[in-house]
């Protein structure tokens, strides 16, 4: 691979909770392995490129989320990129809009991008706010994933969908998955598409997840010792016991 291309979508609309930091962490960890990386910023009304490697969508308020969804509906770039083998990391509002349906800013259910089988609804339950701790679904013995969640919507993922993990503490998707045996799922993984409610930014707090996304594009990475990153991630994991 000559150059890894990260695409940050609509930072003005989907950048409320520091999630643009996910792109910075990916660049930092890729460059530490000697990879050449470029970051493409896509502003509203600009064409979404189809040849990117990793697409990043962050959290946003209801109104901006509705506009972002509208733009992405009018512009098939993101769906085509996924068909071309691109990875997606979609956080919170971004996670909701890559799903099948979600509420618009008036609460009416509208169609999402349909990249994953996930439907978001509003309930009368309180807003989901706080630290979130998750056991990775594909590796129960793996490192706990941590983040900070802040969302009103609850998301039901399809019975055949794999969550990113299972909630140890916090709300996560907030709705049970069929046959999930009482465990509450967090996020979703479908091919190279990852959705999650974890802010932090999630890749800063979970360097292993950053590497997993990079490896889904470039294959096995060399180890990278970053003591500060590991100490920070470990401190957040330990916060669950306090």
């Amino acid at each position: 691979m000559s150059k890894l291309t990260l695409v940050r979508l609509y930072h003005d609309l989907l950048g409320t909770y520091g999630d643009q930091g996910n792109a910075e962490v990916l660049m930092y960890r890729a460059r530490a392995r000697g990879l050449s990386v470029q970051l493409v910023e896509v502003a509203p009304h600009e064409q979404v490129p189809t040849s990117g490697d990793v697409y990043l969508l962050g959290g946003g308020e209801d109104g901006p989320q509705a506009i972002a969804l509208d733009m992405l509906h009018k512009n098939s770039g993101l769906n085509r990129a996924v068909e071309n083998g691109a990875a997606i990391l979609a956080v919170c509002a971004g996670f909701q809009l890559i799903g099948t349906s979600l509420p618009d800013s008036d609460g009416n259910i509208v169609a999402g991008l349909g990249l994953v089988d996930a439907s978001t609804i509003y309930t009368d339950d309180p807003r989901c706010v706080g630290e979130l701790f998750v056991t990775p679904a594909d590796d129960a013995a793996g490192l706990l994933l941590t983040g900070f969640e802040n969302h009103q919507g609850r998301t039901q993922i399809g019975s055949t969908m794999q969550p990113l993990g299972w909630v140890e503490s916090g709300f996560g998707n907030g709705l049970l998955q069929a046959e999930s045996d009482g465990q509450v799922p967090e996020g979703i993984v479908h091919g190279k598409v990852i959705g999650t409610y974890m802010h932090g930014p999630v890749l800063a707090r979970n360097p292993q997840l950053a590497d997993r996304i990079l490896e889904s594009i470039v294959g096995k990475l060399d180890p990278f010792m970053d003591p500060l990153a590991e100490a920070f991630a470990q401190e957040r994991r330990e916060a669950i016991q306090r």
Binding site: Y17, Q20, P44, P64, I67, N150, Q152, P201, A204, A229
Partner: protein, 403 residues
Amino acid sequence: MLGPLRLSLAARAGALASQLSQAAGKGRGETIQGRVILGIEPDALQKLSVGRDIILVSGTNGKTTTTAFLARILSDGTDENVSTSEFGANMSAGIATVLAARPRNRYVVLECDELYLPAMCAALRPKVVVLLNLSRDQLHRTGEVRKVANLWRGSFTGDEMTFVINRDDPFLEYAVADAGHVLRVTFGGRKHPDAATCPSCSALLDWSKNDYRCSCGLGTSSAEIRADQRLSGPGRNAVLAIEAARLMGAVVPVQVQTDLTAEAPDRVASYRVGNRQIQTRLAKNPESWRESLAQISAKHVVLSVNARGIDGRDTSWLWDVDYSSLLGKQVVCTGERRKDVAYRLSVQGIDVRLADSFALAAQALESDASDHEPIEAIASYTAFQDLAAAALGLNNATTGVDR
């Protein structure tokens, strides 16, 4: 008969509770005082505000400084006595304490928490409400910036209040859309980092020329006052304070306004660590960090970050700030969430060290900084409070802010 008696009893019981609290070394006691007053006389806020001219100051950044400044120019520019919030206690209890302390003072200048503002407008019936700005802060508590703007708009109706606002902030312009009287001040426009879309109709805002326009009409009301574009955040807030004071009938000399551009008031304190005074700036959300970083000139810098309730329990916002002005400087991070900020800086290519306490952070820099080289610091809300408390000799970390 019972009414005035109960109010008087409430005020006296509150003052006693405050003295007991101070004697026990638990801070300044204004919050407990207010709670006692409101416990005995639930209508104390309404009753204590009858016949007085009240100004409320609210917004994300600059409430305390602007309130103090406004109280001062009102006191200097009129013949009346002025009561004011002195220690940043800006919810019901703290406000009750200020009102009860000198009930005969005609003017009362009160700092008010954003979420409490609608209830305080209803209870106190202020003459003037100064709205400074609205940006992301404590999202775990407020939810979204737009939710605060909506909450405000629903309660800012009627003809009794006059709003003094920075109209360059689209959230404020939206919040006062149904208000009877608005004095708009413009500083020539500056793109708002959280307002890509219209607070009113959700369409993308047109920010060309650094000013906003929306097809729904937001942004078309013209400003009564045009002020200096070069003013910093505190300077802009001070202009709003001056306009509010003038509305109340104060005479504000031109010199006061001129002095602003030279040196705007700010939340800066100097703390002694060892033999050194360290200029420390309070910064508590992305916008105030941007302002503070722009004002740091020292090569040796301490950053102190906590994530207790009023700091915002989520530290994600640290990634919304550009720290490139710190590149090449010596930076030591401290506070309970020092690793969060240190890692963020390291990803931006800034060399950082960690220290367990503010004093140790200063010591770590002491060996590098020669005597004439200053050390400057930025501290998040509770980190700043802890420094203030330590300087006052208080053990308790909570120094009287009622949250």
